[in-house]
């Protein structure tokens, strides 16, 4: 579904990614792992078109994404949940959700009602403004907002960072539900235990390239990989 080959990207004069290769197949949950600053966020942003692709290829189905504007990528069926949530502050919860549907022009199974069923708390908060939500609530809203565009591929950056263990458990369940609804997921997270429970396959980023890739179970149980690239 998504094939990334030799992706080069960076900020200003510094290259952060020097040739990243990975693949996400339809229906999978794939995790990008790696330490702080390994380039996970940059990879997701490059796929979305928010960071310029300087080299390599990013193919989504039959379409080359490199060089496309973010809104075109969104219209093709990719949605992005940034690590810092980026809820629009002066729109209400409901407006944040509906705007995603309006902007993407993609109408499908995900609508307000379905998002509220997935995150019942959001229904209670629907008339509050983005700034009035707690961090965890904003995270839910960011995921809900992404789903409102009926994506085929969901890019999730640090979904569990800063969440309480109980909430992390709930999120695991939520991701399973999203996946059962037919949405493919590419997530970036440092939390190995979380990734192990939700992802099928994983790729370990370091020094701007994929060092190890394979079934999530194999990555997590390989002590050498964990020690070398993931342990803090």
């Amino acid at each position: 579904m998504l094939v990334v080959e030799g992706l080069v990207a960076g900020y200003g004069s510094s290259a952060v990614l020097h040739g990243v290769d990975f693949e996400v197949r339809e229906g999978e949950v794939v995790a990008l792992l790696g330490r702080n600053g390994a380039g996970k966020t940059t990879t997701l942003r490059a796929v979305m078109g928010l960071v310029k692709v300087r080299g390599g290829r990013v193919r989504f189905r039959d379409t080359e994404l490199a060089g496309r504007a973010p809104f075109e990528v969104a219209h093709l069926g990719i949605a992005y949940v940034p690590d810092d949530r980026r809820i629009f502050p002066d729109l209400t919860v409901e407006e944040n959700l509906l705007l995603a549907r309006y902007a993407s022009g993609r109408h499908g199974a995900w609508d307000l009602d379905r998002v509220y069923r997935l995150f019942p708390a959001l229904r209670e908060l629907r008339h509050l403004r983005g700034t009035q939500l707690s961090g965890g609530q904003q995270k839910m809203l960011a995921v809900g907002r992404a789903l409102m565009s009926n994506p085929d591929l969901l890019l999730l950056d640090e979904p569990v960072e800063g969440l309480a263990p109980l909430v992390v458990r709930q999120l695991e369940q939520t991701l399973r539900e999203i996946r059962q609804a037919g949405v493919t997921i590419l997530l970036a997270d440092q939390n190995l235990r979380f990734c192990r429970r939700v992802a099928d396959r994983g790729y370990v980023l370091d020094k701007g390239a994929v060092q190890v890739g394979g079934p999530m179970e194999a990555i997590a149980s390989d002590e050498r990989t964990v020690r070398q690239y993931l342990a803090v």
């Binding site: 078109g49 809104f71 990528v73 949605a79 940034p82 980026r86 502050p89 729109l91 407006e95 309006y102």
Partner: protein
């Protein structure tokens, strides 16, 4: 007492074209982050076009006003797409230089086309005459200006608060990248906002001519006042621009009553007073 109330009303009507020009300036700054020096020149062009289409060509007043708005909006779109767009990623000083260059260019263009003298079109017959307010006759045209300004204010409120286009614009203003990642066509938002702002400046210009003669150079005078108003209101804030226009319009109307020679000084003094109390402007978040 009636004198004061009456002078306030006079101020309110001049507040209205200040509002029309400041509204566009502040919307464009809020969404695009561009401080458009040439915004006053768009006001001037609107005034000249309104004058020509109504006073010279003889189109009906309303048609002349709408046509000037449309023409200036198209010019705005061309400026945004052709000239500003390549500069977005660069240092803001390039935008300032470009829009300042446009001021000079449009001033000279106006001199070439309309000459250096003042032009005043007649007031359309159906807006001549007066209504009695506070026991004195008040020019109907000024009442019409106030009504138009209020109507535009209400219209903008509906547009930005109640339509999906408006919400998309607010989202783009708050966070360009995230808006684009949701699928909002941000380049289109930029162009349409610039067009809307330009059309508002032209509306202000076209409506101002019968009470305020137009000549090359009025753009510069207008932009100074509009800048002050948007700073008073809080840069990028529409409600602030409305409040700032009323404040400046009404207070400088009293100012000219008592100290006619200090009009512009008065405007600066209002700004200084506001900024001393609220450095971020009246309505800034």
């Amino acid at each position: 007492m009636e004198v004061l109330a009456y002078q306030g009303l006079i101020g309110l009507s001049s507040a209205m074209y200040l509002w029309l020009i400041s509204a566009g300036l502040t919307i464009i700054f809020g969404v695009l982050g561009v401080l458009n020096f040439a915004h006053g020149s768009l006001f001037m062009l609107g005034a000249y076009l309104g004058y020509t289409l109504y006073g010279v060509v003889g189109l009906p007043f309303g048609v002349a006003v709408l046509a000037s708005m449309a023409a200036v909006a198209l010019l705005g779109a061309a400026v945004e797409r052709g000239l500003l767009r390549p500069l977005y990623g660069l240092d803001p000083s390039y935008q300032l230089l470009l829009t300042f260059g446009l001021v000079l260019f449009l001033d000279d263009l106006a001199k070439l086309v309309w000459g250096g003298v003042f032009r005043i079109p007649p007031i359309p017959p159906w807006l001549q005459g007066s209504v009695v307010l506070f026991g004195r006759p008040y020019p109907l045209y000024n009442a019409f200006l106030m009504a138009t300004g209020a109507l535009v204010g209400g219209g903008l409120w509906v547009l930005f608060d109640r339509t999906w286009w408006g919400r998309a614009v607010r989202a783009t203003a708050a966070d360009r990248d995230m808006a684009a990642a949701l699928g909002i066509r941000t380049p289109g938002v930029f162009s349409s906002v610039f067009m809307l702002g330009s059309a508002l400046a032209a509306l202000g210009g076209a409506l101002s001519t019968p009470v305020r003669p137009v000549a090359p150079g009025i753009g510069a005078a207008m932009i100074v006042q509009a800048f002050i108003i948007t700073v008073i209101g809080g840069l990028g804030n529409l409600r602030g621009a409305f409040a700032g226009s009323l404040l400046v319009g009404v207070l400088s109307s009293y100012g000219t009553l008592w100290f006619p020679e200090f009009e512009l000084f008065f405007v600066f003094a209002i700004m200084a007073a506001v900024l001393l109390v609220r450095p971020q402007g009246l309505f800034a978040r």
